[in-house]
Symmetry: C2
Subunit: 199 residues, 2 copies
């Protein structure tokens, strides 16, 4: 079996650490790097460090921003009385793409998972409770993935916040365009459980 | 729609340039970068530049190496009289993974494609002809993808090299484990065309 030169193996190793990047993709990305002009590699390195240094967290909702508060928290046209709780910034971005939600967010930074030793204290839950207790919030919408960890986290937050305000959870059910026969049984069970009146 | 901070957008743009990386994956990779400690970003940047500077092409077969000649060309246990022609280093690596081939390679660096203005002169075909004409080569095995470009390149190289030595092409046919009913018609046609005697 051919072994890579040391510096190439090292680079492949770096790419393998990225989420969702397996050994084959890591290899393809590293080979792509070798084909680029040196100037674009230098640009890329700079962009990496710059983004890492400039981008921080909104002190209110923990969304990414290079200011004190993120643009959603600063936007007066958004309903500051409704907070949608998400695990990660990418979930916030997915919700923004749907253009359905006009409130604000709170990015807790993960899900409670004893298996991965992620306890509630490691997440931005305390800051959420503080935020809710200190201002006039009408509704908390929990938008966490439907999984053991997501459900645990939803329940945990729900118990803490129901004394202060209304707490809801986004619907679980059949995804649009899905064929009922191919939908997995857990989703089907959840869809049945969550059935609503037609009229 | 939420806009990213400038430095984050820039970083996402860099990731989008990688092969096979779409906007969503680019976003995920960039967000991953933000979560890393600065030291690993610095390490990654260094690895990028180091690999780019240290790794060059074997002067004989154009495989990647940090020496004059790659380890396959230097390996005396490999049959130097058989050359397998591949388009890219990643194809060479795929063949090496199969552990089936014990000869040497020639990486031409792409396929002839008038649509993308890749003419034969841009590929390592001249060096291949020189290599074959100057040494005692028993067989050239063309291992290029079955596509218009692959076939064109195979034919082009075949015409140049048949005066010197035997030129063969790897088989096209049903992939192992495939269900005949799901195999596309072009593959089926090629498989029929390439049928061999059973005994």
């Amino acid at each position: 079996m051919i072994t890579f030169t040391k510096s190439l193996s090292k680079l492949i190793g770096h790419f393998e650490k990225f989420p969702g990047i397996g050994p084959r993709t890591a290899q393809r990305l590293a080979l792509f790097i070798l084909k680029q002009p040196e100037s674009s590699i230098v640009d890329f390195s700079k962009a990496l460090l710059e983004a890492h240094r400039n981008v921080g967290h909104c002190k209110k909702c923990f969304n990414l921003t290079s200011e004190e508060e993120c643009e959603i928290c600063r936007n007066t046209e958004r309903n500051q009385k409704i907070i949608c709780v998400v695990a990660e910034t990418r979930d916030l971005l997915a919700l923004e793409r749907s253009r359905e939600f006009k409130g604000t967010y709170h990015v807790i930074g993960g899900l409670i998972s004893p298996m991965d030793s992620i306890s509630p204290e490691l997440l931005e839950i305390r800051s959420l409770v503080e935020r809710v207790s200190k201002s006039d919030i009408e509704e908390i919408i929990l938008a966490l993935t439907p999984s053991v960890e997501g459900d645990t986290t939803s329940l945990y937050i729900g118990k803490l916040l129901t004394p202060f305000t209304k707490v809801t959870r986004i619907a679980y059910g059949l995804p649009m365009g899905s064929e009922l026969e191919y939908v997995d049984e857990v989703t089907l069970a959840r869809a049945l459980e969550g059935r609503t009146n037609l009229i």
